[in-house]
């Protein structure tokens, strides 16, 4: 078990090294991409800062809570985009038959698919995430560790939701754009103050579109830690992960492969 885990970690690190090598073939491009991602994130955050400057608070949320949300959301998306973005490319792999390459290796197929893509620009999300944490006013070692844990759980939910949406390609053709739109809706809802969603909306955003696991519990945990909120976050993130793996395995049985010309 130990040797297997070490072998798995070594493979993961080598794949990440290859992604980094590919990304830094043009160092200037890579740095500009990272910088532009930071600028893009902060232009969105600036809009919320203006809203809070004028409104004061929204249902008990001030800019401090919003900054915590952006810290968690950006870090979660960075984890996802840097280390598991292959789940987003899955419909393309299914459509052109390049999923075949992942099925003939001895390693876990889903792991190989997930780590097959990485976008260097998303290092900019990490920069934004950590900057927003320090701007939130909730800075302490405890909060920092809780923010990292919450971001990791939120990354799992992001990954699981994207994987389930991508799995539509096992049942229907050309679902890449549809999947991207559904995923964009998920991210849009995740970037709103959780306090505006109550009642049925809250249930909706913790089930069908689970963006509540990014916006609701993480901020609550960092602000006023409670074991129940942490429990719900862990249950939700790992529950969705389990469900997404089941959906993937079920869909894989329907895979029909393809023969489109192409290269990795």
């Amino acid at each position: 078990m130990g040797a297997k885990f070490v072998s798995f970690c070594r493979l993961f690190l080598l794949i990440q090294k290859n992604h980094a090598k590919t990304a830094f073939l043009s160092k200037s491009d890579a740095f500009v991409n990272v910088l532009m991602m930071v600028v893009n994130n902060f232009s969105f955050i600036f809009m919320w800062w203006v809203i809070f400057e004028n409104k004061g608070s929204i249902n008990g949320w001030s800019f401090g809570e919003m900054a915590l949300l952006f810290a968690v959301m950006n870090n979660a998306f960075a984890f996802f985009a840097l280390f598991a973005r292959g789940s987003q490319t899955l419909p393309e792999y299914i459509g052109n038959g390049s999923l075949d390459n992942f099925l003939t290796t001895p390693r876990n197929t889903l792991f190989m698919i997930s780590v097959s893509e990485s976008t260097v620009a998303n290092w900019g999300d990490f920069i934004t995430g950590f900057a927003m944490f320090f701007l939130s006013g909730y800075v302490s070692w405890n909060s920092f560790l809780l923010m990292l844990l919450s971001s990791f759980c939120a990354a799992i939910v992001t990954y699981a939701f994207r994987l389930m949406v991508s799995c539509l390609a096992f049942w229907a053709e050309d679902t890449q754009r549809l999947g991207d739109n559904i995923f964009m809706a998920f991210l849009t809802f995740a970037g709103q103050p959780a306090s505006i969603f109550t009642g049925w909306y809250k249930i909706l955003f913790l089930t069908v579109i689970p963006s509540g696991f990014i916006s609701l519990y993480p901020v609550e945990i960092i602000k006023n830690f409670s074991w129940s909120a942490l429990g719900w976050l862990l249950l939700g993130s790992f529950g969705f992960l389990f469900l997404s793996i089941k959906v993937f395995k079920f869909g894989l049985r329907r895979y029909t492969s393809g023969n489109r010309f192409g290269i990795r």
Binding site: N18, K21, N101, T104, P106, Y255, S257, G262
Partner: protein, 310 residues
């Protein structure tokens, strides 16, 4: 074919059906789509012994790639059973992958922007090959496939022929006992095809690798393989040695004569209707001949005839 103890691939009544959505218009089609079943592989059975080099041929859509994909654990069959190295491919994906190598001519397992040697190092890690074994194995394959100069170059800068040599090396790094090659010479020029064929055969003979090769180029079949399995419309229609294939379907001879004026005349003789000797006598009477060549029809024509008969 009779099952033997040394059979490394066993296929029994294998069937693969695909469900294709019918094109439909209107709201009804959106909510209640209609499907039609396509039988890509229809109850095929065969066995392959260890070390055999088998060509698996058929026209487009015959079911060649589908069969190879089932045997290499990519696709689940609709019914039937197959064992590769004693394992049911679709149930033992990880275990089987250590015994098989796959080369898909239309697809690459190399990283597009990275040097070829980086892709090889990654594959070694994927297959858990330790550093010493990997270096030794790579050195052997690099020498055999003459790719030393290509190692530091990114895949994107290689010609198709160079890339294919690297693809084959990539699929052989973990020393598989069975190599599935799906159209390995597709898109290559005549010289590159010849090089690839020679290398595939040389490697298979040196390491006693079992080959299952699909191709539309009958030269691949003749120059690399000793046995041929032909499928058409998902059904197996021929399974024997290449020599037997030629013998069974050689009902024609091509006679080419050169006259004293330098003109070349080509005659096709159906040996079932007229003996070759009689045809030659007639030609000698008709022309002043300076040279005669009698040839079997090219393999391509034989295959075409088999498809037509089917």
């Amino acid at each position: 074919m009779e099952k033997k103890m040394t059979d490394i691939i066993e296929v029994n009544q294998l069937v693969k059906k695909f469900k294709l959505r019918k094109k439909s218009t209107g709201i009804k089609g959106l909510f209640r789509p209609e499907y039609r079943n396509i039988t890509a592989v229809n109850k095929i059975s065969f066995n392959i012994r260890k070390g055999e080099r088998v060509a698996f041929i058929g026209p487009n859509g015959a079911g060649k790639s589908t069969t190879i994909k089932m045997l290499s654990s990519i696709l689940y069959p609709t019914s039937g059973i197959a064992r590769v190295k004693g394992l049911i491919p679709w149930e033992n994906r990880a275990a089987l992958s250590y015994h098989i190598g796959t080369v898909f001519g239309q697809r690459s397992q190399l990283w597009y922007h990275l040097p070829v040697q980086d892709s090889f190092a990654l594959l070694a890690r994927i297959y858990n090959i330790n550093d010493i074994a990997f270096k030794r194995r790579l050195a052997g394959l690099v020498k055999l496939f003459e790719i030393r100069d290509l190692l530091p170059h990114p895949t994107r800068s290689l010609s198709l022929g160079q890339r294919m040599r690297c693809e084959i090396v990539a699929s052989l790094l973990h020393k598989p006992q069975i190599l599935f090659l799906d159209e390995p010479t597709i898109g290559l020029d005549v010289t590159a095809k010849e090089i690839i064929r020679n290398l595939i055969k040389k490697q298979a003979l040196e390491e006693d690798t079992t080959l299952l090769l699909t191709s539309h180029d009958t030269d691949d079949m003749e120059k690399v393989c000793e046995r041929v399995i032909i499928i058409n419309k998902g059904r197996l229609i021929f399974d024997d040695s290449i020599a037997a294939l030629k013998k069974s379907y050689l009902s024609k001879k091509y006679i080419e004569v050169t006259t004293d004026s330098g003109e070349k005349i080509r005659h096709v003789v159906n040996t079932g209707q007229k003996p070759v000797k009689q045809a030659l006598d007639e030609l000698i009477r008709q022309y002043h001949i300076t040279d005669i060549t009698v040839e079997n029809p090219p393999m391509e024509e034989i295959i075409k005839e088999i498809y037509n008969r089917d």
